[in-house]
Assembly symmetry: C2
Homo-oligomer: 330 residues x 2
């Protein structure tokens, strides 16, 4: 594979090259991984998009929202990429974005790029690769990247390590509608959008928005935010209302963070986070590929799980079996 040529084509905004690059970073094959690492290295330091995490449980109208919101942005001259971190698709083998017919307008839009979620099995692995796919989209000239999740908690945490903003989409109604939203996600949101503020549900959406605005005021205080954030708004993706306001809020929060240095601080911390993750995961992966080591790790893990061995002693045994540079205790 000619990595230089692929890198050049991606940097020129070639959509087929971008799709091929993403397939490469998502691949589990060792030779593909080596090529993906080289590709990303070649493209380092280029491109800078606003990265937006978008979470919401099924039924909240996420596809319709992406369709309307994405079309709004391309109408303003932005180039929009949509990616998904979807651990459930790993099980079904399907993809939350696989059905592009639910986003007919946007998928035909020359300034939008919709990528179905990868069907990997390991959540951390998927997220790491999604982050790399985001990088490729940036390099290809997409200046807004939406990363979609399904509200299961762990994936939101991972997505927060690769985004600048986090938007939570909710349905109108009381607390019951929140059953599907796992704890901790509310806390991560920069903007809560109560969708379906149209027709019969309009007044319910307005009430729900007010409830969340009150709860946010009571529960939050973040030094890195300007006054008034996190915010709750009522929108209708179907009727196309409130989306311009939502986008204005996102831009204003983003601009504030850039101006006050929070954006750069966050990006730097995110970079280091993925580096350390990659080192640790890489070391563990290599340990598991050594049969004797893998067996020993499994046995020790079981003993620790059952409380028969303390974690420290079991870990010391693992370290003793490794011939690492350096010496001495932890």
């Amino acid at each position: 594979m000619d990595i230089d040529a692929l890198a050049d084509r991606i940097a020129r905004g070639d959509r087929r090259a971008l799709a091929r690059g993403i397939t490469l970073v998502e691949s589990g094959r060792a030779d593909h991984r080596t090529a993906a690492v080289a590709l990303l290295d070649r493209l380092a330091g280029r491109g800078e998009a606003m990265r937006i995490g978008l979470s919401g449980t099924p039924g909240v109208g996420k596809s319709t929202f992406i369709e309307s919101f994405g079309t709004l942005l391309t109408g303003q001259g932005h180039r929009v990429a949509v990616l998904a971190v979807d651990p459930s698709s790993a099980r079904s083998g399907g993809s939350i974005l696989g059905d592009k017919t639910r986003m007919e307008r946007l998928s035909r839009d020359p300034n939008a790029f919709i990528r179905p979620s990868p069907s990997q099995t390991e959540l951390g692995g998927v997220a790491r690769r999604t982050r790399e796919a985001v990088r490729l989209c940036e390099v290809a000239g997409f200046d807004v990247v939406l990363i979609e999740t399904v509200g299961v908690g762990q994936s939101e945490t991972l997505v927060s390590w690769m985004t600048d903003l986090f938007v939570l989409l909710l349905a109108p109604g009381g607390g019951d509608e929140l059953q599907g939203v796992k704890r901790g996600i509310m806390e991560m949101a920069d903007l809560i959008l109560v969708n379906k503020a149209d027709g019969d549900l309009k007044s319910a959406a307005t009430r729900t928005r007010a409830d969340y605005a009150g709860a946010l005021q009571l529960l939050r205080k973040r030094p890195q935010d300007p006054q008034g954030f996190p915010k709750a708004l009522a929108v209708s993706a179907q009727a196309d209302t409130g989306l311009t306001e939502a986008w204005t809020e996102m831009q204003s929060l983003h601009a504030w963070r850039v101006e006050h240095g929070h954006w750069e601080t966050t990006r730097r911390a995110q970079n280091v986070h993925w580096f350390e993750e990659d080192v640790q995961q890489g070391i563990l992966a290599r340990l598991r590929t050594d049969p004797a080591m893998a067996a020993a790790l499994g046995d020790l893990r079981e003993a620790v799980e059952a409380g028969e061995r303390p974690p420290s002693a079991a870990a010391a045994e693992v370290l003793d079996r490794l011939a690492l540079p350096g010496a001495g205790g932890a």
Copy 2:
């Protein structure tokens, strides 16, 4: 050092041996660490306390609460140990529990054991050692262990990996009082106690409790909890009111989780978590003790932070420099 003898004395409930054991697990010296690992290994599988995480910002009355609550428990025949995870003490060199005079009754109570927080510099390291101190207290026959934190966020996450229950202590009043409580902590609480429900503040505390009860109802839903949890109660550590009710709620939640298997599931996951943490931290610590490796890691980290190298390529370089068993990509 005779580890066997020390282990025996701790298991017989000898307070001086317990204090010495904790000093050992808290020590940063390599030979002490080796001895601590051996000590914990010797004592594996013994003792089982209810571990309670307690968080609250300075001024909320945490010392008074521990004094009154701890005395209530020893009065019921429990043996209570109090430990602290206090990252701020690492900076000041002091200790949140150092001033035992603030807990005069409890510190003279033969059925209580109060341990000032260790003055370590690395938060993860402190927490790991606190977890080991908790183990020693359990083995020494303390059946309730309180682990105190100061509401800075990261330490609460670490404490949640070593406790069965998480209690958040708040002051009466509106949202303003929450300035010191970092985001995410509210989400972790099983029980929110609004303290100082006495005298002039009583009605404010009652109102605050109702506000939080409402917010909890709106924001939470945890499958591993019985109906009604997380809960908010008003208490007064000073006037000694509401503490019996709070303890009853903790016992009932704990019993429910034990009965439904959630307690065991959590403990097993916690054990594995610390094992994996120890392995990863141990590997990274050994890397850093190798001068050439440490220099390379530092350079790569800087390049990643500045966005000059992608995390994946920098991590691949680190892995290539290691001669680990196994081979192939991540």
